[in-house]
């Protein structure tokens, strides 16, 4: 894992509060698993509440995976259920916070992370329901794509996973909240200037330099 990804995960871990029910999307958000404290319940949409990372020396349970296909363990108080109950939990708002990756995210909180027409369309999985129904969606993503193009846009160009669903975006460069007035800068990476951040971001940013955090 790169230092930038480590920085994102360390900052993201602060979003999770004791007692939270948490869902971790596939990819970078899965890395948050080992950063979480003991007083949270991790939900995985394949039918388990109370996932724990599997210790290296723990015997493999072939019937126990997370939604990304990794073998996991469970913590005391865990429960298993079918796929309907799992998504009832999601749609009914019982999962408090979810972390997802993004191809694109925009200043209105629209999220695109499931399909690149003509290039990548493996399906949607549980992303659409998690994005639409979990009260707090935190996007964890690189600030720019591998060609350096902004991923944080004025308006998503790719098909959206859900409209107006994102609460907060955490990249290696910044923490930004989606507000009715647009994207508000909350924290900026150590050593980065606001003008450099703006140059790397397509969406306009609301900045109050007197109240800016560093991470």
């Amino acid at each position: 894992m790169s230092p930038d990804q480590q920085r994102i995960l360390a900052r993201a871990a602060r979003e999770v509060l004791p007692g939270h029910v948490v869902n971790l999307g596939i990819g970078l958000p899965t890395g948050l698993f080992s950063h979480l404290g003991g007083d949270v319940l991790v939900h995985s949409e394949n039918g388990v509440l109370g996932c724990s990372p599997r210790a290296d020396d723990e015997t493999l349970d072939y019937d126990l995976i997370d939604a990304g296909g990794a073998y996991i363990g469970i913590r005391p108080g865990a429960s298993f259920f079918d796929s309907c109950v799992s998504f009832a939990m999601v749609r009914r708002g019982r999962v408090d916070i979810t972390f997802m990756g993004a191809f694109e995210v925009d200043e209105h909180g629209n999220l695109a992370n499931w399909k690149i027409p003509g290039k990548f369309s493996p399906g949607i999985g549980g992303a659409m329901e998690l994005a639409q129904k979990v009260p707090r969606l935190v996007v964890l993503c690189s600030h720019n794509d591998k060609h350096g193009n902004p991923k944080i846009l004025h308006r998503c160009r790719l098909p959206v996973t859900a409209p107006r669903c994102v609460s907060r975006i955490i990249s290696e460069k910044a923490v930004m909240d989606v507000t009715p007035d647009g994207l508000k800068l909350i924290d900026i990476a150590e050593g980065l200037t606001v003008s450099a951040l703006r140059a790397a971001t397509e969406a306009p940013l609301l900045v109050d330099e007197t109240r800016l955090g560093r991470f």
Partner: protein, 233 residues
């Protein structure tokens, strides 16, 4: 044979009643809960032109991935096939028709069939690409999409334990779509590692009551070997 004890069948007999062109639900989320032995028997018997309904396409070389690679699947109704490169290639080449649903809606469409309903109303996916394929109605001042129930001719499910009557118990994350599919299909064929005498399972712990199960096959634990990754990162 008729009567309660007749649900216990050989795997050849149980899978042998599936015709070409059948619509078949297959349990499992990734490997756990995938009825590998029943799928292998289907592969061996040669049924073709199948429509499969499964959360995913397993991975290439295992489970329904083997049926897809053998050209036996005409259509797949699923939520995500990202772990099966060959299924994606078959889809892109136009040899496999793939219908994608959000995972929770797929589960609910199956549950709805199992409960004997026509369908349900939902706000999931409004204002997204999937909305284009659905009818919407106004109700209580809001917009809802109509999601019809998803029925099937057969369901192939995997249980951890069962009794001869066909009562089923699933284990851990091998539960997933299995109990939903067991209710939604016209004929449900269950495989189980253990099949005990009626009375051996705690009645309160039974996930699928035997009334939903048509045929029961006992399979060795080793039949799921193909879905087990020995080297874990």
């Amino acid at each position: 044979m008729t009567g309660l004890i007749s649900k216990f069948q050989s795997i050849e007999e149980a899978v042998g009643c599936i015709p070409d062109g059948a619509t078949i639900m297959v349990g499992g989320f990734g490997s756990p809960g995938t009825p590998f032995a029943l799928i292998e028997e289907l592969l061996a018997q040669g049924q073709k032109g199948l429509t499969l309904i499964k959360n995913d396409a397993n991975e290439s070389g295992i489970g329904i991935g083997r049926l897809i690679e053998a050209g036996r699947v005409a259509r797949l109704i699923t939520s995500h096939i990202g772990l099966n490169r060959i299924a994606i290639e078959e889809m892109n080449a136009g040899r496999l028709r793939v219908e994608i649903h959000p995972q929770g809606l797929l589960a609910e469409k199956i549950r709805c069939a199992g409960a004997g309903h026509y369908g349900f109303l939902t706000d999931i996916g409004l204002e997204t690409e999937i909305a284009a394929h659905r009818r919407e109605i106004q109700c209580e001042g809001r917009t809802w999409a109509i999601e019809p129930a998803l029925y099937a001719d057969f369901a192939l499910v995997h249980a951890d334990r069962a009794d001869r009557y066909g009562n089923l118990v699933y284990r851990a994350t091998a539960c997933n779509f299995n109990p939903l599919m067991a209710m939604a299909a016209n004929e449900t064929i269950a495989q189980s590692y253990r099949v005990d005498e009626p009375g051996s399972l705690d009645p309160e712990a039974i996930h699928t009551p035997c009334a939903f199960v048509s045929a029961l096959v006992q399979v060795p634990v080793e039949s799921s070997e193909q879905g087990r990754r020995k080297h874990v990162s």
